[in-house]
């Protein structure tokens, strides 16, 4: 059999992980192999990006039978929305590897490789059981990386996040099985393929609502949406840098992706019906987590909340039911992943050098580490939404989308974006710029590898902010397809 390019992208990291596990590679050898793998994958993904045609339909499809008696298939494909997340993953991971270059053990690198397999597999799956398979399998390396390499009360944190996430996904599993059985009852053969599942007509409204929320709980926990965020704080602050980087910049986005990929086409009517609730939950999350972030002393915890706050905003965007909001959400997924991912890497370095995370104990870093400060500033301004960064473009679009949804939502969200600006800039001033008299002499500036790792992120943040059209045209047909064909909204 011949594997397609998507399968290679999924399984190459896993293959490398197991090869290095079995062969006597040291930590360095494993790291080099991992980095090489991420570069190869970047090249493969670039070719996928280049060859992607401008339609809203699935491309690069692969299809093999897996469990034929239940119609479960190994079925892959991507559309514009998956494409941008894929491109994001492929860009972020080599950058992160450059940052994690020194002082990690072999187990760390193997976990990172396995996580990459899990996330790309989740992203490509077009079969519900296959999706669930990757969705859960992705959890194991995360469990290991936090538990083995985390800080603080790492064991408790990792069990907590695992139990939470599995709880959510088990509800999703029940919903998936129920859909499969309904499909069988209606059509007389088994299938869990997304294309087939969307054709189910025999569900009552009550059933649909239950199933809808079965899916939504899984995704809401992953994102996390208010009120499913209780795992967030501990996990983010106790995770090792690599783990928190992947959790915040990529895995959280997969929750959003899941909503768009599965909930929207399977329950289009309920999606529209419940949209107001989720728009407001999103805006509420933006405010709630924003205020929570403002209160934090620990810089990592502050970013954890700020990340959740923006994810709330992304959810507002995807439920706004118009082209602005959805495009903005897709754009914010990228912008936020780069900025937050970058910030977590930078803070990870600061923590490593100084051993502290509390804002009052910092200060005066700008003098010690000017390049660090420049990059920190770029990422931060992107989160704040300064014009000229892609953060601005995406936030602007979502606010437009929220206006289109309801003027009140638009006005509220426009104002609440200011919260992020306030706490971020305040933190920047206290922790980095001002001279507080604290001893930060151990802080070093970025080395060449770290600069090299940060450059693509910074470049993209600015390039996408100045000329967003380069990036819009790939995803636009997909968004149109979602709105016109799936949700059947014409405005």
């Amino acid at each position: 059999m011949d594997f397609g390019i998507l399968s290679i992208i999924i399984f190459l990291p896993m293959f490398v992980a197991f090869t290095t596990l079995i062969l006597p590679f040291g930590a360095k050898g494993t790291r080099n192999a991992a980095f090489l793998t991420s570069i190869v994958i970047f090249a493969l993904v670039s070719s996928v990006y280049y060859n992607f045609e401008l339609t809203g339909f699935l491309q690069f499809r692969e299809h093999y039978t897996w469990i034929s008696s239940y119609g479960i298939n190994y079925s892959l494909g991507i559309d514009g929305f998956s494409l941008i997340i894929l491109m994001l993953i492929a860009t972020l991971i080599p950058s992160a590897y450059l940052w994690l270059w020194e002082g990690r053990t072999k187990g760390y690198w193997i976990s990172m490789l396995l996580i990459q397999t899990g996330i790309t597999g989740t992203l490509f799956s077009q079969d519900l059981i296959l999706f669930y398979f990757f969705w859960e399998a992705m959890l194991l390396p995360v469990f290991m990386i936090i538990g083995m390499f985390g800080t603080g009360n790492r064991v408790f944190s990792t069990i907590k996040v695992t139990v939470f996430t599995i709880m959510g996904s088990l509800f999703m599993l029940i919903s998936i099985l129920y859909l499969g059985v309904s499909f069988f009852n209606e059509y007389g053969f088994w299938s869990f393929s997304l294309n087939d599942i969307v054709q189910i007509n025999n569900l009552t409204r009550t059933e649909e609502i239950w199933l809808f929320f079965g899916f939504m709980i899984a995704f809401a926990i992953k994102i996390p949406l208010f009120p499913f965020h209780t795992w967030l704080l501990q996990t983010y602050s106790n995770s090792p840098t690599g783990g928190v980087f992947l959790l915040s910049s990529i895995m959280a986005k997969l929750g959003v992706y899941g909503i768009v990929r599965f909930v929207m086409p399977i329950f289009p009517e309920l999606y529209k019906e419940f949209a107001p609730i989720f728009v407001w939950i999103g805006i509420f999350g933006l405010i709630y987590f924003g205020i929570a972030a403002m209160m934090q002393v620990n810089i990592k915890k502050m970013f954890a909340y700020s990340s959740a706050s923006h994810l709330g905003f992304i959810v507002t965007g995807i439920f706004s039911l118009n082209v602005f909001g959805m495009t903005g959400a897709a754009f914010l997924i990228i912008a936020h992943a780069m900025a937050t991912g970058g910030l977590f890497l930078l803070v990870g370095k600061m923590e490593y050098d100084l051993g502290i995370k509390a804002i009052p104990a910092l200060g005066g870093i700008a003098k010690k580490a000017p390049i660090f400060t420049v990059f920190f500033g770029i990422m931060l301004l992107c989160i704040v939404g300064l014009p000229g960064t892609n953060g601005f473009v995406s936030e602007f679009l979502i606010i437009l989308g929220a206006f289109g949804f309801s003027p009140t939502a638009g006005i509220v969200s426009a104002f609440t974006v200011l919260i992020a600006a306030s706490f971020m800039l305040w933190m920047f001033q206290r922790a980095i710029l001002s001279d507080s008299g604290n001893d930060v002499s151990k802080m070093t500036d970025l080395n060449k590898k770290e600069i090299l790792g940060m450059l693509p992120l910074a470049f993209l943040i600015i390039a996408m902010g100045i000329y967003p059209d380069w990036f819009f045209y790939k995803i636009e047909p997909t968004i149109q397809h979602y709105l016109l064909d799936i949700l059947q909204i014409r405005n």
Partner: protein, 500 residues
């Protein structure tokens, strides 16, 4: 002659049991020789059984020596499938346990004779087509087990476990006999199949008597698989038994019991099965709840595994109530899940048995602190078993659960599926706790770890691979059975119940 081929597996196991009993008086027969002889007989049984099983896509049903036994024994795809599981279970138990048996001085060659007798009893049970023969088979298996549990007679908790199981097990057996007499009173027969035919004739048959009889038999069944409210013996007996015996009981014996009861309830009690459904719903919920509760509070790993086996009984019962006209996958999901659970449990118990036999004793969770550093290979295997028991994707345990819950939803038991999911969710806690303890802590002792030796590590690795392959495997690799084949096989064996 063809009849003889059909009973060859039974014959080999029985022959092995008797010949080991005879030679066990000789000093020159060591434990090692005894276990190898056992393996030889079991392998012969396995091969001849594969011959019975391997009929392509055809299902069959046959009564060997019908003029002697008069339909007391049946050989069909279903029974052969179960025999395969049982013999395989026995082989794996011996292979993993051989190290344990050699290290513990109390074991003698008689143990292997008893072991083969219990295998013989279990196989006879799944081949039984008549209630009295089933009872005899059940008792052959049980009595051998009573002795096997108490075999290390210097340890008092073994004796206690053995005695407790003997008393309670006999009591449960009495219910079976009483039930049988009620069934006989109602229908005038004890042959499976004929009972079903008689129950169709509602004028001639006293349905109430039949239901009472069925209930009695159900009680024995629930006792033997340790379902609520008959679960209390399980923890003490299972954890009092030597570890290889525990593994054998938890995985293999359960399969044998299900093998017989499924046949009885599907073929004979088809009409009246709905009568128990409501009661069984409560039994299931309580079994899952109580089992989960017990599993959470245990400090000893062995007791946790035993308590969690009660939870797995609950999952199997979910599938048991889902056998109905609506859901065709109920029965085959039990058959599949038994294989899934059997592999994971034999692996987990066997691994612990192996490492406790010469390493220093590992009993509680805390004894496994930093185990991954000391024995990375064993820790990885144990993690795979835990993941499979928890039903995490990429293991056979996930496919088993998928199958059971799909069957439950198909039969309209969505509530039960949700309850099962909640129990699964709780189980993540106590299974992942072990993984966390093995990997995330440093160990106090690092000194002179004895190297792994013997055949057990290889067998354990083989089981772990089978678990992974059962979770992801497909038919892409030619001539190698994947998940698909296992599911089809389970379906075929279910269909063979309705042939002839």
């Amino acid at each position: 002659m063809i009849d003889f081929i059909y009973v060859l597996p039974l014959f080999f196991v029985g022959l092995g049991a008797i010949s080991l009993m005879i030679v066990s008086t000789f000093k020159s027969v060591t434990i090692r020789k005894g276990s190898i002889t056992t393996l030889v007989f079991l392998s012969m049984a396995f091969i001849s059984n594969l011959y019975n099983l391997n009929t392509g896509d055809e299902v069959y049903s046959h009564y060997p020596f019908i003029d002697i036994f008069n339909k007391m024994i049946i050989v069909d795809t279903y029974a052969s499938y179960f025999s395969t599981i049982l013999i395989l279970g026995a082989i794996l138990t011996i292979l993993i346990g051989i190290h344990y048996f050699e290290k513990h001085k109390e074991f003698t060659v008689e143990f292997f004779s008893l072991f083969l007798f219990s295998v013989f009893g279990m196989m006879l049970l799944v081949h039984a087509n008549e209630l009295i023969s089933a009872f005899v088979a059940l008792e052959i298996a049980s009595i051998s087990l009573y002795v096997m549990i108490g075999f290390e007679k210097v340890i008092s908790k073994r004796i206690e476990a053995s005695y407790r199981y003997l008393v309670l097990g006999s009591l449960a057996g009495v219910f079976f006999l009483l039930g049988t007499s009620f069934v006989y009173g109602a229908t005038g027969t004890t042959t499976i199949g004929t009972i079903g035919d008689m129950s169709l004739n509602t004028f001639a048959t006293n349905m109430n008597l039949l239901i009472i009889g069925g209930t009695m038999i159900l009680i024995t069944f629930l006792f033997k698989i340790a379902a609520f409210p008959f679960q209390n013996w399980a923890i003490d007996v299972y954890s009092g038994a030597p570890l290889p015996v525990t593994a054998y009981m938890a995985a293999t014996f359960k399969a044998a019991i299900f093998g017989f009861v499924l046949r009885l309830f599907i073929v004979d009690f088809d009409l009246i099965r709905d009568f128990w459904d409501d009661a069984l719903v409560y039994v299931i919920i309580l079994t899952l709840a109580y089992g989960s509760f017990l599993a959470i509070i245990q400090k000893s790993l062995k007791r946790m595994l035993v308590a969690s086996s009660i939870v797995h009984t609950g999952y199997l019962l979910i599938a048991f109530t889902s056998i109905s006209a609506l859901g065709e996958s109920g029965a085959s999901s039990i058959i599949f899940y038994l294989v899934a659970y059997f592999l994971s449990a034999v692996g987990a118990f066997g691994l612990i048995a192996y490492i406790s036999s010469d390493d220093h004793l590992r009993i509680t969770y805390d004894d496994f602190r930093g185990f991954a550093k000391i024995r990375p290979y064993m820790a990885a295997m144990l993690s795979i078993f835990m993941l499979s028991l928890a039903g995490i994707p990429s293991t056979i345990g996930f496919i088993g659960k998928f199958y059971i819950f799909t069957g439950a939803i198909e039969a309209g038991n969505t509530i039960l599926a949700v309850v099962g999911i909640i129990a699964t969710f709780i189980s993540v806690y106590y299974y992942f706790k072990l993984i966390a303890i093995m990997y995330f802590y440093r160990s106090a002792e690092m000194t002179n770890v004895p190297p792994l030796k013997g055949v057990a590590p290889v067998v354990i690795a083989f089981i772990a691979l089978a678990i992974i392959w059962g979770g992801v495997g497909n038919t892409l690799v030619a001539y190698f059975p994947g998940v698909d084949l296992l599911i089809d096989m389970a379906k075929l064996s279910y269909e063979s119940l309705f042939v002839g």
